[in-house]
Amino acid sequence: MAEITNNIKILRAGKGMTQEDLAEKAKVTRQTIIAIEKGKYVPSLELAFKICKVFDKKIEEIFKTI
């Protein structure tokens, strides 16, 4: 299975957001954001789109397969 990486941490830092802010906007727990940023958890398509909406980016700009 292809590994999925993301640049949420960079985008979040660029916007000056905390993990808690992003979690609140995406309606998930902070633990989920931590796990996604570390690449330990791959979000569902629904959550991936929510995150994209927060950063106003396309899904392929945030998530990439290796």
């Binding site: 979690a23 309606k27 998930v28 727990t29 989920t32 796990a35 979000p43």
Partner: protein
């Protein structure tokens, strides 16, 4: 209520239920035990409602699902194996407590399997996966 306060409240409630049920068992008062559990459940629902933060999300559900599957995979064979041992080691003494315990455990294992199968069938239907 913040998540931290919720965790403290949950722990205090668990302590309250454990203590009250222990006292109820020691003084043989079923009503006290049932009321403690009832009060605990209602309080937990009310406490959960007052928390504004997200408590359950998709990762929590994924972890819960995987844990449940692992618990099922371990529990059912252990129960089935234990019930077989208890029944076959007491075949000459069929009315004994150990033999009956073996029968009860085998039914518990069967009940678990039936519950799992029903839940699996339900979710398979819900998500529209056809039987191949």
């Amino acid at each position: 209520m913040s998540y931290k306060n919720f965790k403290v409240a949950r722990m205090l409630m668990a302590m309250f239920i454990a203590m009250t049920v222990s006292i109820a068992v020691s003084i043989e008062n079923v009503l006290l035990a049932v009321s403690a559990i009832g009060i605990g459940m209602i309080s937990m629902v009310l406490i959960k409602r007052s928390v504004k933060e997200v408590l359950v999300d998709e990762m929590v559900k994924t972890i819960a699902g995987k844990s449940a599957l692992m618990a099922y995979t371990i529990t059912v064979p252990v129960l089935a194996f234990l019930s077989l041992i208890l029944m076959f080691s007491n075949l000459s003494n069929r009315g004994s407590e150990m033999y009956n315990l073996g029968i009860i455990l085998s039914y518990v294992a069967l009940f678990n399997m039936a519950a799992y199968s029903l839940a699996y069938y339900y979710y398979q239907k819900k998500y529209g996966r056809d039987n191949e």
